[in-house]
Amino acid sequence: MKYIDEFREGGMARKIAARIAAEVDARRRYHFMEFCGGHTHAISRYGLVDMLPDNVQMIHGPGCPVCVLPVGRVENAIQLAQTPELILCTYGDMLRIPTANGMSLLRAKAQGADVRMVYSSEDAIKIAQQNPQQQVVFFAIGFETTTPPTAIAIKKAQALGLHNFSVFCNHVLTPSAISHILQSPEVREFGVVSLDGFIGPAHVSVVIGSQPYQYFAEEFQKPVVIAGFEPLDVLQAILMLIRQINAGRAKVENEFTRAVLPQGNIKAQLLVAEVFELRRSFEWRGLGLVPYSALKIKSCYAEYDAEQRFPVPALSIADNKACECGAILRGIKQPQDCKIFGTVCTPENPIGSCMVSSEGACAAYYSYGRFRNRDLCTVQNN
């Protein structure tokens, strides 16, 4: 298909990789974080790491909305789903996030809760229209890309005079998470995580534009290259980062010009600004409380805010002890550092959230078999 195949072409991938090998400075190391889970997925799926020289290392960032949602919020959603006469709607990946005692929305559904998977926020509105006697809550998650559709749903509910629709809002913001990582003790003081530059998100940038990253480039002197989700996009972005570093530059560059404008999608931004405001702080799995990193529904739309309509207690629940998701999301560990990766924890039976969504680092590593062979050997040796 047009605009997909050309950006996946293997011969060209090898040529860009050869260019990267020719241009890296052998005397130094390059550490790049791909913030977005979509890029983590592409890197695993196309085996891009194997095409890079040894001194270029990719660090997986926290840009997977399913992965960063803390267990407490999932537990809140389960409790909402268990409320009599309530229908909880959400995107598919959310159903399998495990909480304490092996519970999940899917389990709650099996036990009788009315949980429905939707493809878009529009579907949740339709369910509310079809079930006027029941409360319908849309469990909304995601970065800047899924926020405009949630805003549209709230405005539509208002226009339709729907009194049985509300949103459990968990929308989070990319720039605040990047700032938080750059200011974290691991990066700043201990130097456990070296970061020389970022691959900027694709679709998030379609909405927010390339301007919001200017701050990181200037303030922290880290180059940012916004890249599309196809393998050639990612390789080209790595080459552009290497060129910036070699030249001592730290600028925001855009490889994904076919979809990202400097100012982003203004229509979407205005809509979001109309319906949402900043939360003072929000808990992220792995990152902890991050100031001004999430959105809540403005008080003028309080009627559509599930946190106003139902009891939603602040719950702080620790992850499963064996799970290293937190450290993986901070860039300190890799999936194979987790003792139960691929054995106890698999996509069919995820123990942590990084194994749930195809954008999660653990699921991406597992699905594309990069480590399955090794596991097979251990099984056979036993």
């Binding site: 260019r19 970065f143 559709p149």
Partner: protein
């Protein structure tokens, strides 16, 4: 959730909706977040909403940038 590919606009229908073709799969999506979409455009879709029109000229420029790399590699060898 974020994984998405450009979709081809096949048909505009009422209420700011369009039928798109995603690698052979036809789907109805919303155009409320974008403007001036016509049949034949490619759009970036996320969770049922078009987020942006794909700029075909820019796509060609990016592909041309890849092609330049071939020339650079050849120069290295010679």
């Amino acid at each position: 959730m974020c994984l998405a590919i450009p979709a081809y606009v096949e048909q505009l229908i009422t209420g700011d909706q369009a039928i798109v073709n995603l690698c052979g799969v036809r789907k109805e999506i919303s155009l409320v977040l974008v403007e001036d979409i016509v049949v034949g455009d490619y759009i970036i879709i996320h969770a049922g909403y078009a987020l942006q029109k794909l700029d075909q000229r820019e796509a060609e420029r990016t592909l041309a940038m890849f092609a330049e790399i071939t020339t650079l590699n050849n120069n290295d060898i010679s």
